[in-house]
């Protein structure tokens, strides 16, 4: 099992269908990219070990399906996440506009302890495409991120591996900060047993 230095972080990637969630993850974990589109069914699971500062961190990445028909599975996937990555396509304004609902949905379903400060990261993907195709400006995206409590924002290209490493490093870092929560105490000793109170519930006997 782990020493206290070793940490495991559950990272959920959300966003519309076709924005490049799987490609980003694949670029990050495997350093590979394929132009071919293949829809994710349900979810994919990847593991990557990284060093953040001096700590060995295992990232358990949950790449979810963007398609509407899989959304009922949300609760199961979002539960107990340490960080949520919202992805949109800078060449597709609808994928940007739905970020709001992805974020709300996540907060409702995962119901983290401190929703205000839950670590999100926003990635604007596919910046390798021609400038003329781009419909969501950097300014517009950053304004949105600021309005949601200063969510870190990265413009990435899974195809050309731009900013991918950087973005995931931030993801790990922010999730780690959340881990080190000072008001959380798990080491309280439960109360002592009083032996006279609980003799009736006993059924089987060894001797």
């Amino acid at each position: 099992m782990a020493s206290r230095k070793k940490v495991l972080l559950k990272v959920i990637i959300l966003g519309d269908s076709g924005v490049g969630k799987t490609s980003l993850m694949n670029q990050y974990v495997n350093k590979k990219f394929s132009n071919q589109y293949k829809a994710t069914i349900g979810a994919d699971f990847l593991t990557k070990e990284v060093m953040v500062d001096d700590r060995l961190v295992t990232m358990q990445i949950w790449d979810t399906a963007g398609q509407e028909r899989f959304q009922s599975l949300g609760v199961a996937f979002y539960r107990g996440a340490d960080c949520c990555v919202l992805v949109y396509d800078v060449n597709n304004s609808k994928s940007f506009e739905t970020l709001d609902s992805w974020r709300d949905e996540f907060l409702i379903q995962a119901s983290p302890r401190d929703p205000e400060n839950f670590p999100f990261v926003v990635l604007g993907n596919k910046i390798d495409m021609e400038e003329s195709k781009r419909v969501v400006s950097q300014k517009r995206a950053m304004t949105w991120c600021q309005s949601k409590g200063n969510i870190p924002y990265f413009e990435t290209s899974a195809k050309e591996a731009i900013n991918v490493e950087n973005a995931f490093q931030t993801i790990a870092k922010n999730a780690l900060q959340q881990e080190a929560d000072p008001d959380f105490s798990y080491n309280e000793f439960p109360e002592a047993i009083k032996i006279d109170n609980d003799n009736s519930k006993y059924d089987a006997c060894a001797c």
């Binding site: 070793k6 559950k10 495997n30 394929s34 293949k38 994919d44 199961a76 996440a81 109360e191 060894a206």
Partner: protein
């Protein structure tokens, strides 16, 4: 809801070995709660009904899309057949049930696919299945499969025999050197650094996984749990589909493997085995975790933080979980829900019991003397008996760490059957080389008092020569089958249902090597499972294997499992069994603790 697919007649369970090898049907059993038909639309699992061979072509083409050999990473994906499924379902508005189908189909497909080219892409289920073997198993013929069984036998996980890597499965050579952090304890796990991508890892006969309900890894029997966190994600996803439908997944049969699930609030426990294990073993593992944390603490932690990494709190518990996982494979007490006592004369046991009485104190709950996994004597407070499951935890704790052998220890322990909400405190001290004294109190400040009590106990035991007596009894391997003198009898296990204790002679002669011992144990377990089948429980079970005849016999007062030679006649077997029962009756007071003394 429950469904199971009809097995082909050829595959009906006849012998444990045949079952192990041949049961190639895929079935999923979930909880039995009947759901109203309106709530539970009829699911059609037509995909599973296809014979595995018919699915071979399905999953192969796209499996190369992600390769998992890159540095520091691994990929598990359900996506292997996604484009295929997608092309057939795109645009359709599908019900939730169909997603379940998708997942299971994919799992099944993965587990049934046979392609020697996709070695590097092992998914959760398929990871457990030897590629080479699968190539043949499309046409299950008994002799060929038996051949494989023999081969697998030689790489049994519990034995120390090294597995030879067959053909080119050398993925582990690609794995980067991950810094290994072992400073938290000196415990080095035997299989702790096994590569989860390797065949050696997937071939172990019985895997245990423990994860949180959010899919975070807590424990794996083999390998490093953080490196199989993708598998844990897959497990969580599969379970969630059923939880979502307010159902709970209990078991999946896939090829030779059985996946058993136990959902305990914030914890999910999973066993994947080729040995047909039941969920009772998962209950023991769960109890082991409770014994360290208590259910109060466990619930509270996850209420406060769903994403909690439980490994932080369980640091140092791993040796005990490992020990437990191992002993469940060769200790009949777990299967029988009972414990074994050291055979000794009633007079000696009574004498020892009387001496233990001197520690009588209102704050003492139990006082016991144990040796290895056997009980010498147990004293308890009136009205507080000790459940065998709790005793197994005590045995496991004492035997799981060599620390107890060298010093007096004082340790908190939760005995879940007694009370899963709080800790008791155990004073543990070896008073001779093999005999360990345990004094269990609810009061956490009793160490010095109990330590003094120990000195008095040892003094008195020495004074009346009882100490040498119990040490001698502990050192012996137990009685041998020759002591009983029953013709044709090779070995037996007898459980007294009234005392909840069992007795069994030492494994001698042909059964003293680990493999033979395990083989015999497997026959006992098979007999036991058949007789305790929920569908049709049996009173008598007679089974002839190529090497043994096994008699199973259950009455209101005992359970007997006896091994004879394969050629014994039924009359001789019956007579011998009666002689054995007579011997046990005569020896009863020495074999069992008939009346546990109280304070």
């Amino acid at each position: 809801m429950s469904f199971s697919l009809p097995r082909s007649p050829l595959l009906s369970p006849m012998s444990p070995i045949m079952e192990d090898v041949l049961s190639d049907s895929n079935s999923v059993i979930t909880s039995d709660e009947p759901l109203s038909p309106t709530l539970q639309p009829q699911r059609k699992y037509s995909v599973y009904k296809a014979k595995p061979t018919t699915q071979l072509s399905l999953s192969v083409p796209s499996t190369k899309a992600y390769s998992s050999s890159s540095a520091g990473s691994s990929v598990k994906s359900f996506n292997a057949i996604s484009n295929l499924l997608d092309s057939s379902i795109n645009g359709e508005n599908r019900s939730k049930e169909s997603y379940v189908d998708d997942y299971l189909t994919k799992i099944m497909n993965r587990s049934n696919s046979a392609s020697s080219t996709d070695n590097e892409y092992l998914t959760f289920c398929k990871g457990f299945i030897d590629n080479k073997k699968r190539n043949f198993s499309s046409e299950p013929e008994s002799d060929m499969s038996l051949d494989f069984d023999a081969r697998n036998e030689s790489i049994d996980s519990d034995s120390s025999i090294e597995c030879k890597m067959s053909n080119g499965h050398s993925n582990n050579l690609d794995m980067p050197a991950i810094p290994i952090d072992e400073e938290y304890s000196g415990y080095r796990r035997k299989y702790g650094h096994e590569d989860p991508q390797s065949v050696t890892w997937s071939r172990h006969r019985k895997h245990f996984f423990i994860l949180s309900s959010s899919g975070k890894p807590i424990y794996t029997r083999y390998g490093d749990e953080s490196r199989i966190s993708s598998y844990m994600g897959v497990i969580q996803a599969i379970i969630s589909f059923f939880v979502d439908a307010e159902d709970s997944l209990r078991c999946i049969n896939a090829g030779n493997h059985k996946f058993v699930f136990l959902l305990k609030g914030p914890l999910y426990l999973v066993a994947v085995s080729r040995t047909n294990e039941s969920e009772s073993q998962l209950n023991y593992l769960y109890n082991q975790i409770l014994s360290v944390l208590t259910s109060t603490q466990l619930t509270k932690i996850y209420e406060q933080r769903m994403n909690f990494d439980l490994r932080i709190l369980l640091g140092g518990t791993e040796p005990f979980l490992d020990k437990l996982a191992n002993s469940m494979s060769d200790e009949p007490g777990f299967m029988l829900g009972s414990i074994q006592c050291v055979r000794m004369s009633k007079e000696l046991r009574d004498k020892v019991g009387n001496i233990l009485q001197i520690v009588k104190s209102k704050d003492l709950l139990y006082a016991m003397l144990i040796t290895n996994y056997k009980l010498i004597t147990l004293l308890r407070l009136k009205k507080h008996s000790l459940h065998s499951a709790d005793l197994h935890l005590v045995f496991n704790m004492v035997n799981g760490s060599s620390t107890f052998r060298s010093v007096e220890s004082w340790t908190p322990i939760c005995l879940p059957k007694f009370n899963n909400k709080g800790f008791l405190h155990a004073y543990v001290c070896y008073i001779t080389a093999n005999v360990c004294l345990l004094l269990i109190s609810p009061d956490k400040d009793k160490f010095f008092e109990l330590s003094d009590a120990k000195n008095t106990i040892v003094e008195q035991l020495t004074a009346c020569d009882a100490l040498q007596g119990i040490e001698a009894a502990s050192q012996s391997e137990g009685y041998s089958i020759a002591d009983i003198g029953v013709a044709g009898l090779r070995h037996f296990i007898y459980k007294s249902k009234t005392c909840l204790q069992y007795t069994s002679p030492a494994f001698l002669a042909s059964y003293n090597n680990p493999r033979e011992k395990r083989r015999l144990f497997k026959l006992y377990r098979y007999t036991h499972d058949r007789m305790h089948s929920r569908v049709r429980p049996l009173k008598v079970h007679y089974y002839v294997s190529p090497s043994e005849t096994i008699l199973g016999w259950i009455t209101a007062t005992f359970e007997l499992y006896a091994a004879f030679g394969p050629l014994i006649s039924k009359t001789a077997l019956t007579n011998s069994s009666l002689v054995l029962l007579k011997w046990i009756k005569k020896e009863e007071e020495n074999l069992f603790i008939m009346n546990s003394p109280v304070f």
